[in-house]
């Protein structure tokens, strides 16, 4: 096959840089993937595939960085959105759709006894920590090193646009080290409002790490003994492990949970959910945004959750994800390459075990993209329900060729 070229992507990027800072902002900037070997601009999508502005077709394992959980252009979700659009979306008031979605989450998610609806993951993680502060009347937030909880000032990586006051009350510890957490809580006794964690550790630029046996239970105990609100940021993994929240998959109980990606198949909806004890505090935190009550997205979320449940989508993604993980391990081994395939099957990721600078990963991912498969070199991947076994098998074929290229370049 002829390898993909990205001429129009490059042209478009030049146009973009004239009028948009960095050309493409944030994590979708080419600098964070493999510049020159990855598409920069998408054109359209269908099922588990999308096409870039050069007409190149890809099997998609990044899923818009998570939200595409059923498949691009899913008919049931899009139809629900269209039906609502015909009635209108942005009003002076919320529509009944908001109440319906909240009721739906309360009935489905054990942690949820109240629900606040936002648009993006950052909206609800920021809100959740504010609710925790309001509930406890304390200042400190504890999070795991390397974890991503959004782009708000309190948790954003780097220093651009930030002042020290933005993060002076944010403390960090190593995921799975309950002793470090306990020490931090002791050091700041009576001042820790919340411990916020992802359901398992999924940092960018690193392997995914599952909770060590007993770790989350220890977090729960420390929070209980010190009156700390335990928040799970399920923005990335939500509805890919368990419809009741990813904590249910692992078997532990937080006080609050946040959802976003995977909730509405690409329509922008997020939710913070919590126990009754924090509901009054949640009411006292002013939470709003211009589009928070838009009905189209909320109707899409309802349809998406229905579809996920009715089709047992998680089971399917587990199956195809397992096939992908096993296939990658087997093919890498056949080439004499050591890979580290981590994460649950529905959110797989792979790095090369004998490197810390991602050079093999970047070559592998760049070559895969030029052959029509998007497997990001630095960020975990996502399965969607639209992936069929045949798509995975094709992916493994492409991966096999890419492993051969890596082997030729690096030797092991």
């Amino acid at each position: 096959m002829s390898l993909y070229k990205f001429n129009k992507s490059n042209e478009m990027f030049q146009r973009a840089t004239a009028v948009i800072p960095s050309g493409i902002s944030g994590n979708k900037n080419p600098a964070f993937a493999v510049p020159g070997s990855f598409p920069y601009f998408a054109e359209r999508g269908e099922g588990c595939r999308y096409w870039d502005v050069d007409g190149n077709e890809y099997i998609d394992y990044l899923c818009g960085y998570g939200p595409i959980i059923l498949g691009h252009n899913h008919p049931a979700v899009d139809e629900a959105a269209r039906k609502q659009q015909a009635m209108g979306s942005a009003f002076n008031h919320p529509t009944v759709r908001s109440v319906e979605l909240a009721e739906r989450l309360v009935s489905m998610v054990p942690v949820a006894e109240w629900v606040a609806i936002g648009r993006n993951g950052s909206d609800v993680t920021a809100y959740a920590v504010q609710v925790a502060r309001e509930h406890t009347q304390r200042r400190k937030i504890i999070m795991a090193k390397g974890a991503y909880h959004g782009s708000q000032s309190w948790c954003r990586h780097g220093i651009g646009g930030l002042i020290e006051a933005d993060y002076e009350h944010v403390l960090q510890f190593d995921f799975n080290d309950a002793t470090q957490l306990s020490d931090l809580v002791k050091q700041h006794e009576g001042d820790v409002a919340t411990v916020i964690l992802t359901p398992y550790h999924h940092p960018a630029f690193g392997d995914q790490v599952m909770p060590a046996p007993g770790f989350m239970e220890e977090v729960r105990r420390i929070c209980d003994e010190n009156g700390i609100v335990f928040i799970i940021d399920d923005v990335r993994a939500g509805f890919r492990l368990d419809m009741g929240g990813s904590n249910e998959y692992f078997g532990y109980k937080p006080d609050m949970i946040c959802f976003c990606k995977g909730m509405a198949n690409g329509y922008c909806v997020s939710a913070a959910c919590g126990h009754m004890e924090s509901k009054n505090a949640a009411s006292r935190v002013f939470f709003t945004g211009t589009y928070y009550t838009n009905a189209v997205e909320i109707a899409a979320a309802m349809a998406c959750l229905d579809e996920l449940e009715n089709t047992k989508a998680i089971d399917k993604m587990m199956k195809t994800g397992t096939l992908l993980q096993e296939g990658l391990r087997e093919r890498a081994g056949a080439h004499g390459l050591q890979v580290s395939v981590t994460g649950p099957p529905t959110l797989p990721f792979m790095t090369f075990a004998n490197e810390s600078n991602f050079l093999r990963s970047q070559m592998f991912s760049g070559e895969a993209a030029r052959r029509g498969v998007i497997l990001h070199p630095h960020h975990n991947w996502f399965m969607m329900a639209a992936h069929e076994e045949s798509d995975v098998m094709k992916t493994i074929e492409v991966a096999d060729r890419c492993f051969a290229i890596v082997k030729k370049q690096f030797g092991d």
Binding site: N10, G23, G36, S356, N357, Q362
Partner: protein
């Protein structure tokens, strides 16, 4: 005149402002050590360095100290050691004003008889200023531009180590940086330099390191000039292929923030 004297005395008595201290550190630990490269890059500077034979200490009250050794045409800088010639500055502010080109006279406290050598040293610093703050006419010359890039790159990388020590916001970046090396290459044939990060300490070196954790390749000297001047959007240059980054891009991106912090002080 009286006001200036009072200013000087009060500057000497009070504790240095953090910004003054950081800038003084940069001048002594990141800028002055570049005489090492200057002696190699510039013919006149090389000739002067060969004529010099002294160890020169810069000592700042409440601030940094550095010892420059001139021997066999080479210049080496140390943060410790004995010197036979010494210049004392009453405050970080005074040192910084001298580096800014103001007429500031330090107090010689050792080797007063080496006036001739000190005059030659002053000429060296003038030449260095020419490379770090070049005129438009100088930048017409391709060889000069390359030397300007080499000097500026090493100043920037060395100064990153300084801000990492003292600047609270830079400290946040360093706390997130894992140990490793970041290589900077100007294509097609240099200059090249790299930083080694180890337990939060950053050190800069000339040349190429084997198996860097991250590598930044810049298309050519002219683009590097634009990057140094802050006229180029690095993310845009990366996407267009003018700057090629490989390896641990998160580390390279975090470290990029150090240059912004350095720029705030050195401007």
């Amino acid at each position: 005149m009286i006001t200036e004297i009072l200013d000087t005395i009060s500057g000497a008595i009070r504790e240095p402002r953090l910004a003054d201290l950081i800038l003084a550190d940069m001048h002594l630990y990141a800028v002055l050590p570049r005489l090492e490269e200057l002696a190699r890059l510039d013919e006149e500077a090389g000739a002067i360095a060969r004529e010099l034979d002294m160890t020169l200490e810069f000592l700042v009250r409440g601030g940094p100290r550095v010892v420059l050794t001139f021997a066999d045409g080479k210049v080496t800088s140390y943060r410790m050691g004995r010197a036979n010639t010494g210049l004392f500055f009453l405050s970080c502010d005074l040192l910084n004003r001298m580096f800014a080109g103001e007429d500031v006279t330090p107090i010689p406290f050792k080797g007063i008889t080496r006036v001739g050598q000190l005059k030659k040293f002053t000429r060296l610093t003038e030449i260095m200023t020419r490379y770090l703050k070049p005129s438009d006419a100088d930048m017409e010359d391709a060889a000069f531009r390359k030397s300007h890039v080499e000097m500026s790159l090493m100043v920037g990388l060395s100064a990153s180590g300084v801000v990492a020590d003292r600047d609270p916001r830079a400290r946040r970046l360093v706390d997130d940086l894992r140990d490793g090396t970041i290589q900077y290459k100007i294509l097609p044939d240099g200059p090249n330099a790299y930083v080694r990060i180890e337990k939060g300490v950053i050190r800069a070196f000339n040349g190429i390191v084997k198996d860097p954790t991250a590598c930044i390749e810049i298309r050519d000297v002219d683009l590097a000039v634009g990057l140094i001047a802050g006229e180029v959007d690095t993310f845009a240059a990366n996407g267009s292929g003018d700057v090629k980054a490989s390896g641990d891009l998160a580390m390279a991106d975090e470290f990029n923030g150090m240059f912004d912090r350095v720029g705030l002080y050195l401007e």
